[in-house]
Amino acid sequence: MDNNLIKLKPIEASPALPNLDKLCDMEAGRMSGKIFWDGDIYEQELEKIFARCWLFVAHESQIPKAGDYIATTMGEDEVLVVRQKDASIKVLINACPHRGNKVCFAEAGNARGFICNYHGWAFGTDGALRGMHESGVYEDSAFDKSQHGLREARVDSYKGLVFATFAADAPSLAEYLGPMAWYLDVILDNDEGGTEFAGGCIRSTIECNWKIAAENFVGDILHAGWTHDSAARAMLGGAVAQVSDFPESWSVNWNGHGYEFARDLVGNAAVLGESAINKYLHLQAPKAAERLGEFRSRMLGAVSSFTLFPNFSFLPGQNTMRVWQPRGPNKIELYTWVIVNKNAPQDVKDKWRRGAMMTFSPTGVFEMDDGENWEYCTKTSRGKVTRYQDLYVGLGMNTRLADTDLPGNVFKGQLNEANSRAFYQYWKDLLKAPSWADVPDRNGQLR
């Protein structure tokens, strides 16, 4: 695919920062807090990660009808995700190609098009420029309307989840997800009816670096038994499950994505304190086994979490999906949704929506626990000396499982920082690479 097709000018790659190996060494399992604080690194991330990777932009259920749209961001680039008349989906930059003004100010809705407030440039839902205030005067300048529509990103979807990328040279979405799609199916394909988002988008801000949040979901269940102990006692009347007691659990990763999981079916869901949800999962498991096999049917609401690189995360069981939108090196805007099976009973969907709000949202007890930790993980690095000191990321080094049928890079146990190492390694590889073709394939080599 060339850039003409998506009407985007390519960004000329900035030279890689010289000291990345000092700041991030995953062979040694150490990094420095500077990567959570530094403005130059953040600018490189916007260019080499957020302008390059496939980013989650919407669930198809959010925009069922032609003209339905939602507004979101890809990194800090504002975009509109719009259902077309032919049922396809376009992702358009929410900025007028005349003076750059935002063309849509609503977060979601249905429209026949978008009209800029400044000079009246009017665009169809397909992004094509349809007309302008005083359109006659443009004709003297040999103006070609077909060249001045809203700019488009590349779009693809996987079982209801819509992704977009600004990079013409990015691999296909299927290649990007790789074997992680097999694990995503636990959530996206455990029922014949597929999934939908229940309710709207909950937006909040946390003053932390986006990587700390993404890494927490990529493979850090370790924190839960300690950080969330008091909240779990309040919600559940008991402690968080002792993960080290599980007879078996895994950390798997690929291309910087990571999924850590046990097979206890309801461990995550149980913290919502809703017996109807536990019951639903128990009834759903045999149906899921028919579609996905017995192994994955035990993962439905299990103690588990994942992140798709760079910033799209999910908790099975709590059923919260979220994007950690970067807003500078030390701030994120958190977009949170609740995903449910379309065929689930309405009262179960409602309980999931409420449960997610009680746990992982601005009103949720677990989010508050995490938010404070993440803010201080970020802010301590404002200290000039502190930010250069080593942070340990070595837990579970050399625990790769060779004799397993599970897809991806598979590591023993959830209490393991293998996924975090894979996440930061991929992060560094992208920051160093001048283009997608230069990103090394480290699958099979990670420790």
Binding site: R112, G113, I115, A122, G124, R130, G131, S135
Partner: protein, 116 residues
């Protein structure tokens, strides 16, 4: 000089579709097939420069593609802001195989609606 203008073949437009017919004398014309019944209006929106043939036709209303004002294509009535000035209509003449407009006459429905 005849005021009869060829718009299209009778079987050319499926119900619910529309087409722009260039005309230098009276300005471009838009012809619509509403469930088998043909109608014609001026193609240029009365609000701003826009070809109505690029708009959406639903339930007898044409929605301008630029600012989404609407007209009733049968009477030419401007029914949705920002369109306030009614649209010129033309009387349709259907022969065995062809559809014509009489550009000297308004549509019967427009005359009956007496929008002036």
């Amino acid at each position: 000089m005849t005021t009869r203008v060829l718009l299209c073949q009778r079987d050319e437009l499926t119900p619910g579709s529309l087409k722009k017919v260039p005309n230098a004398e009276v300005g471009d014309i838009c012809v619509y097939n509403l469930e088998g019944q043909y109608y014609a209006t001026a193609d240029l929106c009365t609000h701003a420069t826009a070809s109505l043939a690029e708009g959406d036709l639903e339930d007898g209303l044409i929605t301008c593609p630029v600012h989404w004002g609407q007209f009733d294509v049968r009477t030419g009535e401007a029914v949705t802001f920002p369109c306030e000035k009614h649209l010129r209509t033309y009387q349709i003449i259907v022969t065995d195989k062809e559809v014509f407009a009489d550009v000297a006459k308004e549509a019967e429905e427009a005359l009956a609606a007496d929008l002036a």
